[in-house]
Symmetry: C2
Subunit: 254 residues, 2 copies
């Protein structure tokens, strides 16, 4: 991947993290965003990169076009790119490769991570899941991914959709359970920080021995006394969540 | 808390971690377990400690009696202890202090952590929540807790029950969501480890800016296209969990 020329379409969180990381390894020559100020801001943080708000004016001779925009915009944006021999990829978990069908060499570069503007991120620890329209294209996308991280896996569109669902459970939904837990703590005058050691150990144990073996608590013990006391103390939506997850734990641990 | 004499009733995970940590700061003189082999094994790991399987034979002049047995056994076990001027505490989140009513000086020493036999634990990072039957007793329990950890909070029985519920959400239920996520990964041929960077960042962000601000994903974006695709790909129990948590996220993020 020596001196590959890259155009990035999008200037959101994923686009920004990828652009910065790629800028150290390759040449991000153009950034495109509907919002020219966003494009200009990101371009100015890169070594030698020009901003635009019109994808049709991008150089046709880039090696890679990385479309990192919201899911619904991927297909329409891909239609506005110039005709190119370069490889066009998107970065979405839940969008099939077919949405890029206008381009002969197409693929996916999906990072299994949650990105935010504020937080710095070690991109080398992010696992990337790649797909390519043919062997040669897949190989080139793999090279690109490997400049970012040593953790590169192949995933077809169906596997990638499953990975995204797994990420929703592991990240979005666990975060929501933390929000509920923190709400209960606040109602009782305790700060968020009292949970941190518990959370760290929970995560550590799940990774060490797997979450099945690491399961503890009243549900897996079938401690109906505690479960019923907890249910009667909770507001209705939270009781509903408590009841359903307790039931699901009992089903998995017979 | 110079040279306090401590008896520990129980030889499970919590009892074992507490006994080992206290043995460095005080004198754990006796360990009692229904199973004499468990008591003997734990006692032999301590400096100068005798095992027994009969709580009624414990020295009556200990400073502290720490009952760390399953919730249902706390009250019956407390009835078998000798009459004592020492302080009798239990370590349970969901058991009221009243269950120790036979003893004049009674209280609670509740560690907000998940304990397991295998995993080493830095007890100094565990937050302890204490309660005492009177000011003097509470002060003495606080001293004991502070020999273990700098994070010591007061909590009455109602607050402690709430803390336990928060811990169930934050630890037991998040672990179950990880089990679901890992199951989906395995079905698609990927190892547990691909989730680790995502989980670490999720936890880090939730602690840094609070879980409300850290919420991401299709539910908070109200991305019904992705949500419906995910729901139709999931088995029924998992779809039910996905639907309920998505609904709950939407309610909290209007």
């Amino acid at each position: 991947m020596e001196r590959g020329r890259i155009a990035i379409i999008g200037a959101g969180n994923v686009a920004t993290h990828l652009a910065r990381a790629l800028d150290r390894k390759a040449r991000v020559v153009q950034v495109c965003s509907r919002n020219i100020e966003h494009a200009a801001r990101l371009a100015s943080a890169l070594r030698d990169c020009k901003p635009t708000d019109d994808a049709s004016t991008l150089d046709a001779d880039c090696d890679y076009y990385i479309i990192s925009v919201c899911d619904d915009a991927i297909e329409p944006v891909s239609m506005t790119l110039p005709d190119t021999d370069g490889i066009v990829v998107h970065t979405s978990g839940s969008t099939p490769i077919d949405k890029l069908a206008r381009h002969q060499r197409r693929g996916v570069l999906y990072p299994l991570q949650t990105f935010s503007a504020a937080a710095e991120l070690d991109i080398q620890r992010v696992p990337f899941f790649i797909e390519g329209s043919d062997d040669g294209t897949r190989r080139k996308i793999k090279e690109l991914a490997q400049t970012l991280s040593p953790s590169v896996y192949e995933a077809d569109s169906e596997q990638r959709a499953a990975l995204h669902i797994a990420a929703v459970f592991a990240c979005n939904f666990t975060n929501h359970l933390l929000e509920i837990a923190v709400g209960i703590l606040h109602d009782n005058g305790y700060p968020l920080t009292v949970l941190q050691p518990l959370l760290e150990v929970t995560l550590h144990k799940a990774m060490l021995i797997g979450p099945h073996g690491a399961q503890t608590g009243p549900a897996v013990r079938r401690d109906m006394g505690v479960i019923n006391r907890h249910l009667s103390a909770l507001a209705s939506r939270q009781a509903e969540i408590y009841r359903l997850l307790t039931q699901s734990i009992m089903e998995r641990h017979k």
